[in-house]
Amino acid sequence: MIRVQREPFDVGEAYGRLISGLEGKVGGVAMFVGLVRDFSQAGEDVRRMTLEHYPGMAEKELERLVEEASRKWELLGHVLIHRYGALELGEPIVLVMTAAARREAALSACSFLIEWLKTRAPFWKLEEDSKGRERWVEGE
């Protein structure tokens, strides 16, 4: 399942949907949840953030990443949800889940997906500090 959405996501529901029908086949599920934290990469304070995205390309890029991961590891299922819009401290931003027969494939694919998503998926973070000043997060 791949989703780009404004609304929060329910980790439990996504997990249930991922393993439904795969009982007995799945040996492990790996998960990464990215959250809004109260400090930036440079250590400045963060009060909230807004995520901008490129509608259409964002979904396609996530699909391309999953295709790539599926060529490298034997995955039985995946969940990739990325949010956009206004997000408060502590809110979830991104969810990556991978299901496989063996833990190594699930863990490696999950790590691959979140790392590559950060450099390829067209999303941009605009942080706001406690004084209401905005700044774009610098990409690499």
């Binding site: 990325h82 931003i93 941009w124 605009l126 774009w136 990409g139």
Partner: protein, 81 residues
């Protein structure tokens, strides 16, 4: 051609989308970027830093040809996740 801008590039130029007729000598994504930079001060400023390019919603480099292309996007390095 539909030209899209996102994030800091969009804010700097002041719009997220333009419909443009390109000069005939603009044949690659890099040539389009150079042409856009030369249009006015807002474009020059918005597109001055490191700019990533997507053609028909796929990452490309500046050498990519634009024959038959409908949508090109320019944006800063991505920061999702």
């Amino acid at each position: 051609m539909r030209v899209l801008y996102f994030a800091a590039v969009r804010r700097s130029i002041g719009t997220g989308e333009e419909l443009l007729d390109l000069p005939e000598d603009v044949k690659t994504a890099g040539e389009l970027l150079a042409w856009l930079r030369g249009r006015d001060e807002l474009h020059e400023a918005g597109l001055s830093g490191r700019v990533c390019i997507a053609v028909n919603q796929e990452h490309v480099d500046e050498s990519t040809r634009l024959d038959g292309v409908e949508e090109v996007a320019f944006f800063p390095p991505v920061t999702g996740g």
